[in-house]
Symmetry: D2
Subunit: 337 residues, 4 copies
């Protein structure tokens, strides 16, 4: 039987609760402590959470020698501080994306993690989706030959509130960052250059925040392949998440998941299910899988499947994309030394 | 918050373990005791099962006043005895299908349950599959008009061992019984008459047991509709589970579930995923849903969605089917008074 | 270059006009004479038909030594007479289905054709559909192993007029006869026994003609396989024409053809095209192909792909099906000596 | 009945022969004269072509007062000369794409056509494909709301010979020009700006001709929408031709056409047909439709559906795309005054 791993979670918002709920069914995982500044409001949820202790003070986690792993699910501006503190007390770290909005802070945190020799995984959950994993594996194994063109469609079902937009870091850092990671993941190559054709077509008010809601992002990969991402903040028919890899020996593509495989035929139309509407439904299994893989990495001392470097490079592509949109020209992505 | 329901499980074979595992994530359910005659061999499994007590003696469950509900997952020949004992001590009952091989015994058990006033649900899990539930609802709401033709395809991925065949009760009682229940469930009507065209095409040795492995079963419903089931013990491409309802205003059909929505295009072919191979994968969500619905029925004092009558009628259709195959003619299904 | 073949057509109703129109694009075919008792009403159509002569008297065809081939597209009751006359003057024959309503008359005509040594093809157009031909070839080449189950769905978009029903010969001879031929074609085996579960669900008035409009027809093949056909006179969503062959090593199925491959996604639904509505659209290519194959048989002195025997056996299955419906039991199909 | 239209065809290469063959089934069209410099080699083909006269001298067409319409299917460098000559003798013109490689020459020809008052249609056949026409109509009617993103996938099954590449005018003028026209057609808007990310991944020898074989082309439309085209000279699985329009109220997409709707299920895989391999198969119906629509425009004095302006603008986008690839920046498309 596996050894038990003891977990503390900082931040019990939507994503923190999701991870805690998923860990309930993992037989070797014990969620001991949950820290959240709004702990008072979480008491009802905590009752059935399966966790043992609820606190306002995340130091209760850092100072607990029994805890092996810290999940960082608090707001982005607290990430690098928490990473450094956790690494210093030799706890393994699972950190939600993005690591931070600052390249500099991310790199500093990286140095501390490296020095401590702990595992750290970044929360790009889509890497663990069965559809995209299959595409990745086909590309890697050259079953479609050399990659020529990578296409990613990524459209949210509804736009975030303007409040959210204001503090989101913009469409590239908040939304497309998942697609930038997917591009690196599937291609197995770094992105060299990025060009953005963007527009504000969903809600003109977004312009006040120097942001856009619709984009076509062209990518040039180090390995010679080229790619394109199309983003929209609002696909009225649901969460549209597709990937297509085209190569010298064929192509592989993933269509959207739906709730059922039912078709209805009437005199007017033939109907099928819409794509799953929300990311929690669409990526439910991927969220479970990413955490299970993280624990496997710890137990079996393997490398994590989504590491610090992945977090940093996705951020740098986001930064280059933002600049490309501002200047209307292609922009090089800064390399990691 | 919901009140806790305390559960005892008799029989921890494949299906018993499945239910116990699924109950782990249900916040208001406590699996207290598991009884199995082979308890000695189950110790490793029990460690991580989430259950509290493992025993050889099912009386530990019947005699425990704290236990509210008994899951009967033992072999078919023990079902009616256990049902009667559980009902007498006022425990709610979840019983795997078929209730028994004997109409008489089933009816006797029914009387005891009725007298005791406890809930009893029969384990026709497929009713709780999202695909088939959607079809049922469309038929019920007349969105495809009046039902004219119901078609069920039900093929197992591989044939059972001959040992299993010997004690299975035959293809109609063991395998097609799910389809008979599906026919009643989707149509909302009783089956009046059944005709079987059967064959032994997968494994001729099955004939030694007076059994077949391939069948086309025609149904005539009380409401005037007609139906057909096709069964095979071996579909090499996986577990083939489809339903189609055709009516005066349209049709609705459910295709097989697959692991991904990925397509691969090469110079030779376009490939997609095969149907999910095994019933545990295919009906995983349905198994969870059936148990959750059963607990809801108890808590909210609603009727169960798959009751005693459903168990009995599916058995009677199976019996008529067997006779039809033997005599080569259509056979009437005995009505429930 | 191919030699020219000179054609005469008896009967210029819907199906006759269809063949004449299709022959226009065949470079080595010359449609010389069209005979129809209602020739007066056909003058406008004839202008652009590409045919050279329009007459009321089919003897103008029989007596014309230049004519190589007679297409018999007149009403069923004239078929055997015309076949015999054409055969006697050594003309090759293409005859629409069914050959006749009488087994006796059909056999007599067969003797005459055999004695004359001319080619005769029967108009089961669906054999020439690309979808079904592919299924046939897979079954024949054992790519799905031995055939176990054959399923045919065949539903018309709208019921015929009661006038038509009155003189149609009934659903089995008029509509299901195509499916009986398809069953023999795909399986490569004769049908031994047939059982019908039928109903009048589309239009009760059909009962006045001792006919039904909805049927499930079970088939037992000589080679051990079993099969099922489901028929309806009215599928409101279009002409539903599907075939599925299931065998020991896999399955092969053909879905309906549609006008486009377009999908529409809105907040309410995902829609695609309905099946092609009418047999002229659905089987347009098959009609062309069957005639081209017939001419190839003549030129290259090969056997026709749908011969006299096929016509007779489909009729016999239809006859057995009718009897099965009347007596409510399975009925053997009379063999051809 | 319609009046007969008399046609002369200049150039009987692959595309010329295609149009002549398609016109055979059009009842009111008479192909009188075919002119080709290689007429000597075309005698066998001509025999069954349905055309009446074969000549080396295209003046036989221009000087024939009986001829109403000239089809220009010769090499691109002869187009504008032939357009001008045909317009001067008041013949309607169908001209294959591109009109010319020179903007100047195209505009001069345009002036002559305008002055002559004859109809001229440009051969962008894909506009007449049922799939894309349906998308166009949905966009135009605002059924998917305002257009936000337009995506076109256009990949050839195999690369042309280097000889062909040398005189093709490059990937943008030769291949992507169809996609530029499709972008204008579906969006109903002009393209303002274009950016190309290109690569030579299929055959490095193409670089000798300053050409590429793989491209992602970003488009900015006048109406605010944005778009992307991805091109490859080699999709080993067939001719990949898809369009997707995404808007404020939904999306509409067209998948590839296939020969059949057959699926094969085995223990290894589920297979379906590949996309139709060649443009003649894929766009067969579109080629017929474009010519029929052209003749309708003449007879009913309606505007043609693909006019001079469409030819010119597609060329200008191609020119801007070429420049964008050369300078590595987005380039504005020159407007038509």
């Amino acid at each position: 039987m596996k050894n038990q791993i003891v977990v503390g979670v900082v931040g019990a918002g939507r994503i923190g609760q999701l991870h805690i709920n998923n860990m309930k069914i993992m037989s070797n995982i014990r969620v001991k402590t949950v820290a959240d500044v709004f702990a008072d409001k979480l008491k009802d949820w905590f009752e059935t959470s399966g966790a043992e202790k609820l606190t306002k003070d995340y130091q209760d986690i850092m100072n607990d020698p029994e805890i092996d792993v810290v999940f960082i699910c608090s707001s982005t501006d607290t990430h690098t501080m928490l990473i450094k503190e956790a690494a210093k007390v030799k706890k393994h770290i699972f950190c939600e994306k993005p690591i931070s909005f600052s390249d500099q802070e991310t790199l500093e945190a990286y140095e501390v993690v490296k020095a401590a020799g702990v595992k750290m995984q970044v929360g790009f959950n889509r890497r663990f989706d069965k559809n995209f994993k299959k595409i990745k594996n086909y590309v890697k194994s050259k079953k479609i030959g050399d990659l020529h063109i990578l296409k990613i469609t990524s459209r949210d079902p509804e736009p975030p509130s303007l409040d959210y937009v204001a503090r989101s870091g913009g469409i590239f850092m908040d939304m497309a960052i998942h697609d930038f990671d997917m591009a690196r993941y599937v291609s197995g190559s770094e992105v060299e250059e990025v060009y953005v054709q963007g527009a504000t077509l969903v809600n003109p008010d977004i312009q006040k925040y120097n942001d856009i809601d619709t984009a076509i992002i062209t990518l040039k990969f180090e390995n010679g392949a080229i790619g394109v991402i199309d983003n929209s903040r609002q696909a009225v028919y649901g969460y549209d998440q597709r990937v297509e890899a085209f190569g010298s020996q064929g192509a592989i593509s993933a269509d959207n998941e739906t709730e059922t495989r039912v078709k209805v035929f009437t005199k007017d139309t033939v109907e099928e299910d819409k794509p799953l509407y929300f990311f929690l439904e669409r990526y439910n299994n991927a969220y479970i899988q990413e955490v299970e893989d993280f624990f496997d990495s710890i137990e079996q001392e393997k490398e994590v499947l989504c590491e610090f470097k992945d977090g940093i490079m996705a951020q740098r592509i986001a930064k280059a994309a933002k600049k490309s949109f501002e200047i209307g020209k292609p922009v090089k992505v800064e390399k990691l030394k």
